[in-house]
Amino acid sequence: MTEVDQAAPAGPRLKAAGPGGRFGRLGEVRHLGLVAALILLAIVGLVTRPENFATSSNLVSILALASTIGVITVGMTFVITGGGIDLSVGALMALASVWATTLATQSYGPVVMIVCAVLVGTGAGLLNGILIAYGRMVPFIATLAMMVAGRGLAQRMSNQRTQLVQQDNSMIVSLSTTRVLGLPLLVYVFALVVLFGWLVLNRTTFGRRTYAVGGNPEAARLAGIDVRKHTLLLYALSGLCCGIAAVLIMARTTTGSSTHGDLYELDAIAAVIIGGTLLSGGRGTIIGSILGLLIFTVITNLFILNGLNTADQLIAKGAIIVAAVLLQRRSLKTQT
């Protein structure tokens, strides 16, 4: 996608901010708008629902809600920064959750279930990667095909039914019910994935190469980077995240189902883009994506608290997204 931005009459361009949190201050500046939008939403929350919004239990609830899709968003940030896109995330999460909750898998206990979910996600991600890196398919189409087929397979495995996590395997459910220092375990899983993602993207050669592969694949190739292998790994990483997300959704819903993660792809991509990652690749930050996701989650939470009807919610949501983005642009501008 080419933003018109690039084509806009010169004047000081906004491009100055470097990719990655690489250069301290600049990195912060570019997220200022998102933080401002979040603060604004929080103020709205405090004003409209003083007794509910700022309670610790509500904040925990926001984090728990954000965690499944948050894990997926981390993987998506890598893929998009690396110049690709992954439409199959929701379907892969569903497939992994179904696979892990089949009777056969459940009979081996919770650890095997977790391993199964993670392997299924990673494996399907690898398949995406092979189609794209070695089959040279356009990422949009390859992952769309995977999305469609993944849901189909999940429906078939589950016989279109919801599969309950059995009593014996309730260890998995405890990820959502057990709290440490007031936070359910799954929030820690989410935090770990974010931390891990941030480290890899900002502090390792893998991360640096991701920027290169997304920014100018030809240059990356001529600089000796194995672009195909790298691309393959990016999709596998995204699949891995889907597998982890599957474990979290199993914990939260106590089920595996082919309907899990419906439209997650859109939400995850939206969070990543609103967080400042370029859809054309080469630029992106984990922090931005997570802030973007939190904005969406807080909006939803505010709506829940205020009991808006669906129609008004949607209208308001659209308006808020526009406002948040314009706010972000403005804050960037005044900084440069």
Binding site: S61, T254, I304, N309, T310
Partner: protein
């Protein structure tokens, strides 16, 4: 439909105003009722939300707290959690999927908040105090009997019977299909082909248009849902087909009017009334106030109420029309 003459819109308002003399309707202690349902993306669900809200409005002692309707399980869980946190007195929940919301409903019950479960049922009885819903299996049975009997009477052998389902991944869809197949079996018939749609008008058109091509001669169609039925009928009209008859599902006012007019292929529909949401609100209020249902001998509200699925044809359409929901 919202653009029908105003008169019918009024008439279709759920459950006539509470009879004044009924002691149960007399104002009691104040109760906060939390309400959560899927996103109102089609007529039946929209009617659910509206019926609930209107029922609540009839009582001065109800504070009605609906939360964001959503089709995402994860979000509905959060929504219910927020209601638990807000310490409502009683919850009315129509879950996107009973199994997936089971745990959070259970949490509510454990926290001392009674749950009234509507339509899609929680698998665990500890997760709800009362359930009210339609009879999905019964709906299929009713449709199956109507079709089976009509065809038998016409003396058709080896009939081509099509079934257009709603959302395939819902247990209620599977129950409906099972009932349908079981009833047809008593006549020695079976379903020739089955496709699922999404409860929306457009999905009905798309599926029906293709199905009509797959079967050059059809004897009967059962369509699970009258919302998508509008689309199914449009596709039939577009294809110019009329050699068969069709039975609908859920019982929208629109379908009933069509049946009454007897101008097209739609000859009957089997009900699955969204008035259940209004009843659920009343039940929730009674439970919270510790009352029973005055017509029953029991001191308490029953654990489960299944609404009968009725077959509406040209003959009784007029009588049911006021209960039909606008799609």
């Amino acid at each position: 439909t919202s653009n029908e003459p105003v008169a019918t819109q009024q008439a279709s308002a759920p459950a006539a105003a509470p009879a004044a003399e009924d002691g149960n309707d007399a104002p009691g202690e104040k109760v906060v009722i939390g309400f959560s349902a899927p996103a109102a993306d089609h007529g039946w669900i929209a009617a659910i939300s509206k019926n609930a809200a209107e029922a609540a409005k009839q009582y001065t002692d109800i504070e009605f707290k609906p939360v964001e309707p959503t089709n995402d399980i994860n979000q509905q869980i959060s929504a219910v959690e927020s209601l638990i946190q807000a310490k409502v007195n009683v919850l009315v929940i129509l879950p996107n999927d009973g199994q997936q919301l089971n745990q959070v409903a259970r949490q509510a019950m454990d926290a001392g908040i009674p749950v009234v479960n509507v339509d899609r049922v929680f698998p665990d009885k500890l997760s709800y105090r009362a359930w009210i819903g339609g009879d999905n299996y019964g709906m299929g049975v009713a449709a199956g009997h109507h079709i089976g009997k009509t065809l038998k009477d016409k003396g058709v052998s080896n009939p081509v019977i099509l079934e257009i389902q709603g959302i395939a991944t819902l247990p209620l869809t599977q129950d409906r299909s099972k009932g349908f197949a079981d009833a047809l079996k008593t006549y020695g018939f079976k379903v020739t082909a089955q496709q699922d749609a999404k409860f929306t008008v457009e999905s009905g058109t798309q599926v029906a248009a293709n199905l009509l091509q797959a079967h050059k001669k059809i004897d009967a169609i059962w369509n699970h849902d009258d919302d998508q039925g509008i689309g199914v009928l449009a596709a039939i009209k577009e294809a110019g087909r009329n050699e068969f008859f069709m039975v609908g599902g859920a019982g929208s006012a629109n379908a009933m009017r069509d049946i009454q007019a007897d101008s097209g292929v739609l000859k009957a529909t089997v009900t699955y009334p969204p008035t259940m949401a209004a009843s659920a609100i009343k039940i929730a209020r009674l439970i919270a106030q510790g009352k029973g249902m005055s017509d029953l001998l029991e001191q308490q509200v029953p654990q489960s109420i299944t609404l009968a699925s009725e077959t509406i044809t040209k003959d009784n359409a007029a009588q049911y029309l006021p209960l039909g929901f606008e799609s």
